[in-house]
Subunit: 221 residues, 2 copies
Amino acid sequence: MTPVDLRLYGIIDPDRAAGRDPVDLVRQAVAGGTTLIQYRDKRADGRRLVELARALKEALQNTGVPLVINDRVDIALAAGADGVHLGQDDMHPADARFLLGERAIIGLTIKTPEQADALVRMPVDYSCIGGVFGTMSKHNPSAPIGIDGLAAIAVRARTATRAPLGAIAGIDASNVQAVVEAGADGIAVISALFMAPDPRAEAQRLRSIVDKSLASRSSLP
Amino acid sequence: MTPVDLRLYGIIDPDRAAGRDPVDLVRQAVAGGTTLIQYRDKRADGRRLVELARALKEALQNTGVPLVINDRVDIALAAGADGVHLGQDDMHPADARFLLGERAIIGLTIKTPEQADALVRMPVDYSCIGGVFGTMSKHNPSAPIGIDGLAAIAVRARTATRAPLGAIAGIDASNVQAVVEAGADGIAVISALFMAPDPRAEAQRLRSIVDKSLASRSSLP
């Protein structure tokens, strides 16, 4: 399993970039302390996906920050990305592992306690508990699970896997501390980071709250 | 380059199957003489795509009829399909070739004389001239090219590549002969085959017209 630093996981979606250049935004976010980048793009065709994924991978060279691609294992392979992020309806993680190899990063979104339990047999390097709060970035048919739901799923996930655990959906500076205290090892953000006027400054702010919250959690008696 | 028999190329799309089981329809079509199957599905998520692609591949075992997947190289790899069919906006054929290897079947849709010329540098095993007639199966923003357009593009494609050349969009029993006489080595059909009440009988009928048209073309002085 590849160790993954989930502390500040930035998901770049060209539809949630306020019309700005995604590559430039990612450079800024990484300069501000983003630890992992996902490229998510539900509208672009394959040709464009490969092109932008390659540009993002190039921008991340020598930063130590990996790039994972949402859903599309073929785009990750063609662009030389570091892995993929999968939803429950995407290709099964075991199939993705077979295609990408042992060294790739494979992440999975989980939304229920049962999906957390199932992590025990999933070859994933990290997971993200999804649907925590309401969000503008994705249509989620289910009601948000909130901090209590997050904490309950986190407990189940911890017994199933030692892989790091993130949280996603509607997370911003106002709720980061509660999210980390509820058991997340980091936060995945889309709009909070890439719709911000200054993604570098916003990354610094979010990362600093995550780091402080993690430190106070680990110093608990 | 893998030799591909394009005479009757059936494209199964669960949205164009009149609510029937895609695997069963494909079995019938192949029993009627379909020579190549493509699985196209713009709505299903990755998990379902892999599942149905595997079921189709299994149904085609020992028939000699290959299965290609529309657009998604990763689904083709995960399902053990024989290759992919790509549009001009999908992953570049050279990238798909790199991922799928030399023995895979890679097909490409072309819609203009310039795209036909470009076949000279494309690692594809066949191409299909698209947008021939109007169709219900796909939203085509451009006007149909008609038989004259097909003939003009076919001439350009023949100078660029020796790979077989199909035709697609709105082809049915009424126009097959004209399509083959205009230069196509076969026809790609969706609705004509898989919306038909009896896909096996319809495949036999279409295949018989293709075969006769090819025979009379090759016997021209």
